[in-house]
């Protein structure tokens, strides 16, 4: 009876726990929707990738993420903001203070009003956030045919397919199926909800030049930008997993000791 009841109650707990996964699965199923002329007949293959930040010992591929920053500022930054990212954050990827300063100096940010009350631009410092491409949402919409390019700071955590999202979108461009009317200024993308995206295919070979000599193929840039944006979405991931691992080891030992102590105390009751 004892074991049976423990297992059944554990089972109940697990079910409660498992029901938590439902929202995510519905959300991804929802993307499919009803079949229309635009439903892709075959999906472009996105190579299965094992990302270094997955798993219990996950950590970011620093070199790749730093290259991804080059892709961001060379390609994405003309339309997409990265509001939560400050230049100083690059130090977590191993960039030196001088490198960060050098990068920041290439950008200008508004200074506090000067003595005449005018807002002038000054060179950015490591403490500054990456400047936005558009001053506000209206300006962003006006410059992009009504579509608002989303901020990329949390994009990897804010989509139901998480780290698979960006590779899918970047690799999802293809010719529209016959009979599918693609709107003015829209592009057919098999992985975008509704299949019509306002973003032109952003990557082309050698869209950026990597300092470390890596060949800037579209696949390479896709991997790099995804590593970078995963880092921006969850910059404390490495600290979290490393701390967590130690905490769990400690707790397992403590719990075993508590179990032994409990058994010792309760022996008297027999």
């Amino acid at each position: 009876m004892t074991l049976k009841q423990i297992s059944s109650s554990l089972f109940a707990g697990l079910i409660l726990f498992a029901s938590a996964s439902i929202p995510a699965s519905t959300a991804s199923a929802a993307g499919a929707g009803k079949e229309t002329a635009c439903t892709p007949k075959t999906l472009p293959t996105i190579p299965e990738q094992k990302w270094s930040f997955q798993g219990i010992f996950g950590h970011y591929d620093h070199d790749s993420a730093l290259r991804g920053f080059e892709v961001y500022r060379g390609v994405c930054a003309s339309c997409h903001s990265l509001n939560l990212f400050a230049f100083r954050n690059l130090s977590a990827l191993g960039a030196t203070e001088d490198e960060i300063k050098g990068v920041a100096q290439e950008y200008e940010v508004p200074a506090p009003p000067n003595d005449e009350g005018e807002v002038v631009l000054r060179r950015a410092l490591p403490s500054d956030h990456f400047p936005k491409p558009f001053p506000n949402v209206k300006a962003a919409a006006a410059a992009n045919g009504g579509a608002i390019p989303p901020d990329l700071s949390l994009i990897v955590k804010a989509r139901p397919d998480f780290e698979a999202h960006i590779p899918k979108i970047l690799g999802g461009y293809m010719d529209a199926p016959a009979g599918c009317e693609v709107g003015e200024g829209r592009y057919y993308n098999a992985y975008y909800p509704g299949y019509q995206i306002s973003m032109a295919p952003p990557l082309s070979p050698d869209a950026v030049t990597y300092n470390d000599g890596t060949a800037a193929t579209v696949e390479q840039m896709t991997t790099d930008i995804n590593n970078f944006l995963a880092f921006v979405a969850e910059p404390k991931l490495e600290e979290r997993k490393q701390t967590g691992f130690k905490v769990i080891i400690f707790l397992v030992i403590l719990t075993i000791l508590l179990y032994l102590a409990k058994r010792e105390v309760w022996r008297k009751v027999h």
Partner: protein, 406 residues
């Protein structure tokens, strides 16, 4: 109870004027507890521990949080990025809410299985339901604070429930919002109440414990304590057992916080609230899903709201719906089955709540809702009249005449 002698003069001095030490000694040390409590009885103290975790982490978070629609989202992200250990405390608070509900739901179903709500523990049970209601209100308002898309639209949908009230509904909703939509005044008052309610919960928890200690814990056999041999002192037996349970809990909890902190969350809440765009699927947090399913099962707006609140209200009168004098489901062969069916029904409703309200899910959530209420309002009263219980053991310490099923 004999008043213990304290040797420490400072303790004696205080004790003479304020008897805290004898009270602690009585309630936590010698407090006679049934000797046969199983691990299901760990969840009460675990729930108390969860409350402490939530209050402590919440207070620390509030020191860096900004309750303003323009800054709330960014301030939470600043906690996640720049504040020392902010990511840890935020994930503890975020997942702590889910774990608090897991623990409390197990605690509630333990009470249902072993008939812990029956005389003389009706008020103990009712106070527990009050705590559940307060927890729900607190969790709901807390979920609004990060000001993501789910925060905003969850708040909009749930507050709009009150518009179902005839005549004054719209006015009540405007009053709740402090405006014509969920906006800055709403966020501010939710923050204020989210900060206040946990302390109200703590107060009700004290009453809950006071009521518990009046007649002592129920036990797996559901029979009263007959003699001293039936009990053991709370300390050290149950303190060490609770500590062990806490160790297991913390291990699982920290594993989720460390390796899957967003598992129970929703990706849309990492998109800042946008009052002009509703996400494709609004889903409440998992712990509200069964109630959400009941809400959507009723095709009438007011009816759905009433059914949802009634699903909790029925728990208040449960001690008077279940007329069987036997507490533990062990000795109630029919109730034993009904209990597991009810649990399955609640899980089914949880699944229905997560699914889009269409097709088979509507049918299932209606069936589930009907069964939920039938369990409490029809089946339990009938059971009290017709069920033939198994013979009860004579006492906790003596082997039962009919033997407990092994």
């Amino acid at each position: 109870m004999s008043s213990p002698e304290f040797s420490n003069p400072i303790v004696r001095w205080i004790e003479y004027r304020l008897p805290v030490f004898s009270m602690l000694n009585h309630e936590l040390h010698e407090y006679p507890t049934p000797r046969n409590l199983n691990y299901m009885w760990n969840f009460g103290s675990l729930a108390g521990f969860c409350l402490v975790i939530m209050i402590v982490s919440g207070i620390v978070l509030s020191m860096n949080y900004t309750a303003h629609v323009d800054y709330a989202f960014a301030s939470v992200e600043r906690i996640m990025r720049d504040v020392d250990f902010g990511w840890l405390i935020r994930y503890i608070h975020m997942n702590g809410a889910s774990f608090f509900f897991i623990v409390v739901y197990i605690h509630i179903f333990r009470g249902l299985y072993y008939g812990s709500y029956k005389a003389p523990r009706e008020l103990l049970w009712i106070l527990g339901v009050v705590i559940l209601l307060l927890m729900m209100a607190t969790a709901f308002m807390g979920y609004v604070l990060p000001w993501g898309q789910m925060s905003f639209w969850g708040a909009t949908v749930i507050t709009n429930l009150f518009s179902a009230i005839p005549l004054i509904g719209e006015n009540i909703v405007t009053w709740l919002w402090g405006g014509f939509t969920v906006d800055n005044p709403t966020l501010n008052r939710f923050f204020s109440l989210h900060f206040l309610l946990p302390f109200v919960i703590a107060g009700v928890v004290i009453l809950h414990i006071a009521a518990l200690h009046q007649h002592g814990s129920n036990n797996p056999l559901g029979i009263d304590i007959k003699n001293k041999g039936d009990t053991i002192p709370f300390h050290p037996y149950y303190t060490v057992k609770d500590m062990f349970g806490l160790g297991v809990f913390l291990t699982i909890f920290m594993a989720v916080v460390s390796f899957a902190p967003n598992y129970m969350g929703h990706p849309d809440n990492y998109v800042e609230a946008n009052p002009l765009v509703t996400p494709a699927h609004i889903v409440p947090e998992w712990y509200f899903l069964p109630f959400y399913a009941i809400l959507r099962a009723v095709p009438d707006k007011l009816g759905g709201v009433i059914a949802m609140f009634a699903a909790i209200a029925v728990l208040f009168v449960l001690p008077w719906l279940d007329r069987s004098p036997i507490r533990s489901a062990k000795f109630r062969p029919v109730y034993f089955v009904l209990f597991w069916v009810l649990l399955a029904d609640c899980i089914l409703l949880g699944f229905c709540g997560a699914m889009p309200a269409e097709g088979i899910w509507v049918v299932l959530s209606r069936l589930g809702t009907v069964y939920y209420f039938a369990h409490f309002i029809i089946l339990l009263p009938l059971l009290g009249l017709y069920e033939r219980p198994i013979d009860l053991p004579l006492s906790i310490s003596k082997p039962s005449p009919s033997g407990t099923s092994a």
